[in-house]
């Protein structure tokens, strides 16, 4: 029986060792990681180039990698890409500001007052069951297809995550902090400043991150459906003209922009995480 038990290094089990190695990567390991990570993109590029070289698909449907690259450089130089993104990001900023303002106020109010929650909570949670994209036709009937539609649908997409996270952040603020605030006889404003906001901030920032991601996704849909400007419009229009090289560029631009926004929000999340906020 004893012979059947293989040696297990309790102090340094293989899994832990693997993760520890990953955390303190030496330069050669890091290069290895880059090389390994590049395998899939490079293979895709190779298959793509091969398919173009062999005329496997019509060039209108599958433009060559070089054509896509050229279209990308062209759109960057001419400023077409920048101006489309500027329009889209402006809409996101406005809609997000509107939606988070309402979400913050409503979430804080429902979080602080159980009475308000009892009255308004159920209907808000019922509305949550229906995805934002399903509201799009209703919003189109109400707002038409102008600028108001985009701002309203982004605000709607941003409102619920902010509301729910603010609610949770305010509701879970430890009762002990509120007892301290009682002892110190804080005014409501002081309580907001020193108790509620610091303890709810991490949740609110997480909500903002989710809201931004939702807003970006739904904006692309609205711009594809009903818009004469913005990155989603450029994409849908180029598709209609069968300029798939431009479509590829816009897909990458949408991905990179989404990633950059999420990267910034993740940095904000770390900045406002509980242990740094208390410092």
């Amino acid at each position: 029986m004893i012979r059947a038990i293989p040696f297990v290094d309790i102090a340094n089990p293989p899994e832990l060792g693997r993760h520890a190695r990953q955390r303190s990567q030496a330069a050669p390991t890091r290069w290895l990681a880059v090389a390994l990570g590049a395998i899939v993109p490079l293979s895709v590029l190779a298959v793509w180039s091969l398919a173009v070289a062999l005329h496997a698909m019509r060039p209108q449907i599958l433009p060559s990698p070089l054509a896509v690259w050229a279209a990308g450089v062209d759109m960057l130089r001419s400023g077409d890409l920048a101006s489309a993104l500027e329009v889209s990001l402006g809409r996101v900023a406005l809609g997000l500001a509107l939606g988070s303002a309402f979400g913050l106020v409503a979430g804080a109010a429902l979080g602080r007052s159980r009475t308000l929650d009892a009255y308004f909570g159920p209907i808000l949670r019922a509305i949550c069951q229906i995805p934002t994209i399903a509201w799009l036709p209703v919003f189109m009937l109400i707002f038409g297809i102008g600028e108001e539609l985009k701002i309203a649908i982004i605000a709607k997409a941003a409102f619920l995550p902010i509301l729910l996270n603010t609610f949770a952040g305010v509701r879970t603020a430890s009762a002990r902090y509120h007892e301290v605030a009682n002892v110190l006889e804080f005014s409501p404003l002081q309580r907001l400043r020193f108790v509620t906001i610091p303890s709810a901030l991490p949740m609110i920032v997480s909500g903002l991150r989710l809201a931004l991601s939702n807003a970006w996704h739904v904006l692309i849909v609205v711009e594809m459906l009903a818009s004469a400007s913005g990155i989603g419009h450029v994409m849908a229009w180029s598709r209609t003209l069968f300029q798939l090289d431009v479509v590829f560029v816009t897909v990458v631009a949408i991905g990179v922009t989404g990633w950059l926004m999420d990267f910034a929000m993740r940095a904000a999340e770390r900045r406002f995480s509980p242990w740094s906020a208390s410092a």
Binding site: V8, E15, G37, V40, I61, Y119, P131, I133, A134, V251
Partner: protein
């Protein structure tokens, strides 16, 4: 014993706001202060709901949406769980696959529609692929997380018992990852349902609730649009409840079966 029962009792305060809104709606439509196209009068809304319920087109649309959803969800989930298992169990596969996976995930789902329709036409194929894509990422991510978080102690038990890699996967990692996989499949279903409606609505071809919704909007029929939205919410809720109940019934049995045999 008393407290959970008391907590489960419905709080009547929750229906006050909907009732007030409904009363305002009735008053507004009776006095005619609102555009009846936007704020549909209650009687017309009821007629619209009943008419849509009796409309065979609606049921055909709902049926084909459901079929599309299930096809895409199954395909995307199977691919996602398979890839999640590979990436979650092998460090090498993780280093090869994770960067590309994370890069592709950054693209907003519906931004794939122009490329998909160019390649596969404005029809069912492009829609099912988009739905599969919507299901794929949550399934893959949750499976990967579940595998990674399989307790090290359990894996050591596997090594002590001299399990082969396949047995470790089947008897230890998969049962340990099962709750995470199950919740990944749930998220995948919700995401796939959103993908179904969005794809149908954007591509606007053939049958489907999204197409039905889109034509109701074109006809300026707010009553039908509202009915569709309620139906969408209801179907989504029913599907995810059904899946949750199925998993609640199935998960312990699956885990036990893997350990017992």
């Amino acid at each position: 014993m008393i407290r959970p029962l008391a907590r489960r009792r419905i709080d009547v305060r929750g229906i006050v706001v909907p009732l007030v809104l409904a009363a305002l709606w009735v008053v507004a439509s009776v006095t005619g202060h609102w555009d009846p196209h936007l704020l549909v009068p209650p009687a017309q809304l009821a007629r619209g709901f009943i008419a849509t319920l009796h409309n065979a087109d609606f049921w055909i649309a709902a049926g084909s949406s459901l079929l599309r959803l299930l096809t895409g969800w199954l395909a995307g989930s199977v691919a996602g769980v398979a890839l999640g298992l590979v990436v979650g169990c092998s460090a090498l596969a993780e280093q090869i696959g994770a960067p590309s996976l994370n890069a592709v995930r950054q693209v907003a789902l519906f931004a794939w529609i122009p490329l998909l329709t160019a390649w596969f036409g404005d029809g069912n194929t492009a829609e099912v692929i988009l739905i599969a894509l919507a299901a794929f990422f949550p399934a893959a991510l949750n499976t990967e997380t579940g595998c990674r978080n399989a307790p090290i102690a359990l894996r050591e038990v596997g090594r002590v018992l001299e399990f082969g890699p396949r047995e470790i996967l089947r008897r230890i990692i998969i049962p340990a990852a099962m709750p995470s996989i199950a919740s990944g499949l749930q998220i995948a279903l919700t995401s796939a349902w959103i993908g179904t409606i969005g794809a149908e609505y954007l591509i606007d071809q053939g049958n489907g609730l999204g197409v039905f919704l889109s034509s109701a909007r074109m006809d300026n029929r707010m009553d039908v649009v509202l009915f569709c939205i309620v139906a969408l919410g209801f179907i989504g809720f029913a599907l995810s409840t059904a899946l949750r109940l199925a998993f609640a019934a199935g998960t312990p049995a699956m885990a036990l079966a893997a350990v017992d045999d």
